[in-house]
Symmetry: C2
């Protein structure tokens, strides 16, 4: 039996930063809510078997409607929309648990995690991430950093300026052997200081020997963070003939 | 006698990467060559006493014309345009030597370095950089990194995912006590492996005890790297009422 490939779309933000007057995942982009664009790409990707959408509880009804109206074939319009947590990592954990209980029954899977704030993900990135899981325990899409990065010390002064050639800006999708991600999270949740901004970072911290590969991302696969990013993202969509 | 404040504008690229069909510093931005925008900001800043423009030898005549036509008051239209080197650091070194010989005669100065590929520098950043030199040996404008950064090891796998909260993307202007920068470069040029993408990195590497501060940059102070950046920069100029 082929190992199933499951994609998790993270869309559980509560719009607390209030830059968009609504939860970011619902911001209109080319006539569709932001999260729709990621759902569409993963639904259209032959490598993906099942999609799980992680929402906050307030938006859940809106997400059910969005999934049903979207005609997506790989996500269960009701039970496939699960409730996330306060933080990104709690949402990942919800998705792992749901997957284990409702989809894989504890068996191995390829497990992709994608942030709905990156609507410009492409089929190539998804395919590349899945393919890399043949070789690695975990993998992230990433692009070489073009800025020089400085690390600030506890005294507020610059502590270190690492060589730029080895620095990558991490994007999503990220991919994992589900068993590896589960083991990393099982350790992480016992750590009272646990916090992370991405899931490969969780694996690296709690399973230092895991082999984490890099798949070529795309400079255009930007994350919607500031209101001004919306015009940039729309320009790129337009250049792709979508908007 | 007040310590003089000297600004170096780096514009010595030779357009080798050929993304713009001409040296980047001469690309048209809102009707002016790219480098003009930085010259204008520094010339208009009351904190700056003298400007040095670092060009490549092929563009030198074009730069002379640009400086004369621009009516800038702080740069000598002929001798203030100096020839840089193959690399960014060689250009910095040319500027240090010129400053020592022709301007300060070896005495102390505040020495600002700015990359002409960042035309969106503001007067606030320039003032902030100069002011911070009262407290620090060196200072860089920088913004908190919004991406998660991964460091790749020699094996091509991810070696480390440092905590994002302490990571800053370095911009220019950067500022130095000239004596500190000179000492760092004097050591750097003896190192056969010397290479660097910014001058605060040179100071940190060769004078580890120097106190390097961070001044708030601006997310909009982006560097022109790709052709697609040009539209983004023009949009920002327009929002400022310039273009």
């Amino acid at each position: 039996v082929k190992t199933p490939t499951i994609a998790v779309i993270l869309a559980a933000g509560n719009g607390q930063r209030a830059r968009f007057n609504m939860p970011k995942q619902l911001v209109d982009l080319a006539g569709k809510p932001l999260v729709w664009h990621s759902l569409k790409k993963f639904d259209d990707s032959p490598e993906i078997d099942v999609i799980i959408l992680v929402s906050n509880s307030l938006c859940q009804e809106r997400m059910w409607g969005l999934v049903r109206e979207g005609g997506f074939s790989k996500i269960d319009g009701l039970s496939g929309v699960i409730t996330g947590g306060e933080t990104r990592c709690e949402s990942t954990l919800s998705a792992i648990r749901y997957c284990d209980m409702e989809i894989t029954g504890g068996r191995e899977a390829n497990f992709l995690i994608h942030d709905s704030a990156r609507p410009l993900v492409t089929g190539e990135m998804i395919a590349g991430t899945v393919a890399a899981l043949d070789k690695y325990d975990a993998v992230t899409t990433a692009v070489p950093v073009t800025d020089t990065i400085a690390v600030m010390g506890d005294d507020g002064l610059i502590d270190n300026v690492p060589s730029r050639g080895k620095m990558y800006a991490v994007q999503t999708p990220q991919g994992f052997r589900l068993s590896v991600l589960k083991k990393a999270y099982a350790r992480a949740i016992k750590d009272p200081k646990f916090e992370a901004t991405d899931d490969c970072g969780v694996v690296k911290k709690y399973l230092p020997k895991a082999k984490i590969g890099i798949v070529q991302g795309d400079k255009e696969n930007i994350k919607l963070t500031y209101a001004s990013d919306l015009a940039i993202i729309e320009n790129i969509l337009r250049s792709r003939g979508v908007a």
